[in-house]
Symmetry: C2
Subunit: 541 residues, 2 copies
């Protein structure tokens, strides 16, 4: 017997419709390339999406075709987040930091029909354009309405098309299982793999992100997602914020500490999201300039492990709570967020920060298990590490047009994350490492992430990354790449080893020779430490 409830489809349309009706006057603020601010409301956004839908349907794309973006965070990008799926297309957000050959692969693999490009990024994509066979139309998003000189063709300017478009609302019918979005993960090996989201998965991810204990965001917040819209759906913010009526602040292309501080203070931002690199830079800036962050009270930090020292510094020096997030493009992307539980409320601060330095507890709508190499489920005992598997209504069941990566999905419906992790009795996830980032020494494992965290807590250290080097006796040994404050001569290698002593078993400690100081740690296209490059450097040295 079926229930007698409405067969109401879970679509992105419902989200924007809610923003229009319930929060028509809430604002979207975007910093433009010139530094000027653009500001309009969710009601304006809705009206523009109506027009943009007409624009998209006139470009010759067929239902289900991929509409790509190559852009920073701003209101036009947001318009595309809605207009593409609401018009029956699939929004494909291209990562602007991909290497050219990866970008070429991704556009051709997705068979993008149209690409929307920021004027400031036109030069970056031009050299590739002739290799992108499926692209029928280029649209440039400009600040001044003037199409720049370009070899892209055929090409149009965004606002020129918008002006000609009808303002009559006329969205085609969409079903909840229709494809809505496409993101490629920038894998560290092999070609990028695509994740094809549906309206339903996007809607459900928006509901799970809106839970009090997931992000805790409210209409009362002013939110700045520094996480790029070209990476993992900007962690779901472009859909969450209009749904709950929070004011949105987009920093655009200038994400220097100085620009971010100015924006946070002037727009009275209460809540920000981004990768650790951004906030680490901000932290140094705040200390040097003896300034603060106005009304900012919460930051969600994810994308790579958040150093404990950074959580402590923001809390103690600036009264800002860092909520660590863990997720994956394949998970829409939220998997865990880290908050204190009720029973921890009266713990000493140091112990609380230990908890906040974990990856957090599984979000509503995300099931987890850790398995041994034979697939047997391990207990949540705080020590049994194995591969982390996840399941839920906003998690991928396959990669887009990719048969080779099928083994990442189990037959009984779980996604293999490739992370080595354990869960503790309080349900906090501890990511030991990516499978490939573990260091195997003398038959035992050393966690590179743990060692990085410990080194980053050492006075004078700005950042650190740990990789393995081959060793004839021990198989592998840890090598630490350490960034000191500019111009500083301390800590010395001996200081670092001394700092680690007692925190790691003796056999795990790196030698002084294996502590290497560098100017900065190489990054991947999404701002994570690029250990592939470090390993290459290490082998070449």
């Amino acid at each position: 017997m079926d229930g007698l409830m409405m067969d109401y489809p879970l679509t992105i349309n419902a989200i924007l419709n809610r923003a229009r009706q319930v929060f028509p006057d809430k604002e979207v603020v975007s910093v433009l390339p010139s530094g000027a601010k653009h500001c309009y409301t969710y009601k304006d956004l809705y009206a523009r999406v109506v027009r943009l839908s007409h624009v998209l349907r006139k470009l010759g794309a067929k239902p289900g075709d991929r509409i790509a973006t190559f852009a920073w965070n701003h209101y036009r990008h947001l318009e595309l987040y809605y207009a593409a799926p609401m018009s029956g297309f699939v929004l494909h957000t291209l990562n602007i930091r991909l290497f050219p050959e990866q970008l070429e692969f991704v556009v051709n693999h997705a068979e993008d029909a149209v690409v929307f490009v920021d004027a400031s990024l036109v030069k970056a994509i031009e050299p590739l354009a002739r290799k992108l066979k499926t692209v029928k139309h280029w649209i440039v998003m400009t600040e001044d309405g003037k199409l720049p000189e370009t070899t892209l063709a055929p090409v149009s300017e965004y606002e020129a098309l918008m002006k000609q478009a009808s303002d009559v609302e006329d969205f085609p019918a969409v079903g909840e299982n229709d494809a809505a979005g496409l993101c490629y993960t920038s894998g560290t090996t092999g070609n990028p793999k695509g994740v094809l989201y549906s309206h339903r998965s996007t809607y459900l991810h928006t509901l799970l992100a809106g839970q009090t204990d997931v992000l805790g965001l409210s209409e009362r917040d002013v939110v700045m997602p520094v996480v790029p819209m070209f990476h993992a759906n900007a962690w779901g913010q472009p859909y969450l914020l209009p749904n709950i009526g929070a004011k949105t602040v987009f920093a655009g292309s200038n994400v220097t500490p100085e620009a971010l501080v100015k924006l946070i203070v002037s727009e009275r931002v209460t809540y920000a999201l981004g990768v650790p690199t951004i906030w680490n830079g901000l932290l140094q800036y705040l200390r040097e300039h003896k300034t603060d962050l106005g009304e900012l009270k919460h930051m969600v930090v994810g994308g790579s492990a958040v150093p404990r020292a950074m959580i402590e510094a923001f809390k103690k020096e600036f009264g800002i709570l860092i909520i660590q997030g863990w997720g994956m493009t394949e998970m829409s992307p939220l998997g865990c967020t880290g908050r204190l539980m009720r029973r921890m409320e009266d713990w000493p601060e140091a112990r609380q920060i230990d908890v906040l330095a974990n990856a957090g507890i599984p979000c509503v709508g995300v099931e987890m298990k850790v398995v041994d190499p034979l697939g047997k489920e391990l207990p949540w005992d705080g020590k049994s590490a194995g591969e982390l598997l996840v399941r839920g209504p906003a998690i991928a069941s396959a990669y887009f047009r990719n048969e080779e990566a099928k083994e990442q999905f189990t037959r009984d419906g779980w996604f293999r994350t490739g992370d080595v992790a354990f869960l503790d009795p309080d349900a906090y996830l501890h990511i030991a490492d990516r499978t490939k980032d573990l260091i195997k020494s003398g038959g035992e494992w050393i966690s590179s992430v743990e060692m990085e965290n410990a080194i980053m807590a050492c006075p004078g250290v700005v950042e650190a990354a740990v990789v393995s080097r081959p060793d004839p006796k021990w198989d592998e040994r840890p090598v630490a790449y350490v960034v000191r404050k500019p111009g500083a001569a301390t800590p010395t290698p001996a200081d670092v080893v001394q700092h680690l002593t007692g925190k790691f078993a003796k056999w795990q400690l790196p030698t002084e020779e294996d502590i290497r100081f560098i100017e900065q740690i190489p990054r991947t296209s999404v701002g994570k430490f690029d250990k592939k490059v470090l390993r290459q450097q290490q082998r070449a040295s």
Copy 2:
């Protein structure tokens, strides 16, 4: 093109599984009839639901059969909330306050196969039992494990069955559209009408209830739903609280102010939910006994309009924020909750309380519109009143086995609430009245709810209800039934009219003869003012 996300069914099973895995040690506290407390954890709940599932499947019910409950709020009732739908049955919560003929109608209409009854309620249902032809088995829930003397047959004791049941987990597969729950609305006219929830609608309602701006509940809360589990799913709390890991406190059958205060303080309740009557009684008690409510910070109050004076009193005298909720059994039931928006944060307190006295803004997942008698949509302008229509994934599309009430559902997929309402530009819902509770005087409307609210703010008034009386000249005129503090001789009718003057147009004011003092206001089975009875009294007088 469909998305490539997991086909993960949205079921009640996923909720309990989450509670077991993520929050195994969080507690469910139940006050037993003797006053003793029972306490166990979500892990225990899960193990008991496994057993209860075996019990249910041995009672001869077929998949989809209705399993009824006739019970107060306690842990065994909670076990049934999960075991019935997770075993392929439909949980039908009988309202213990229904009149016998309504109860008979409801059980026979639903064709309940099994009824679970509290020992303390056995005598209440016995006289009806022989008329309930479909019931194959009665199960009595006792405190001491001893089956009371009863004419119910065949009859078993709950714990005796549980002891014999297997503890091996073995739930049948359920789909997200399978029926999961059944509640009847206690209509004020005609027979009660049934709403048949699905697993999907229940899961989605749980996600919407968990939004920061809907209830704002967290794992850090200790929650006491005083709203009965036999009424509108206890506003979704039995599913929400395990999903988010909040500790649950059930008051059982003793909901006197004294008992509630004791429980709130001893269990460190932070959040409570119930109808205005309960909290009004509590307020008088707190003032008389010069006591407070410990850690209680939030109360969700709904079921009928919340008097502004009550919101003000709890805020000013006890620092407790009342969040007004509006919903309907047909809506699972949450429709609106009332919180302040960002731009109201620095408003004067009196103006803030005015806002909190509205029904709130539409919850995530609930679409609303107000239409004129021809079905034309009216603007959200703070004055255009019409019938309120709602739509969403947790809203009924039909009544269970009821062809006559079809006109409450529009052809294009909306549910007609029967409420006269308007929405203001800030998206707050103002319920003017139930269509049938409006007073039509001289061709114009008087809102009984507004007048009740105004009278309840008059010093010395405990409660007030306003109904219409026929009038030869004006068609209808308002009559106010007013409860004063016990033994008090004021306010006088003149005082009440004086208090209303200026707040209502002159022609709307009741005469002094139409202010009538009574001992208490009659209630419906769910604790709302029973205006049907007042109208009868009024006509008889």
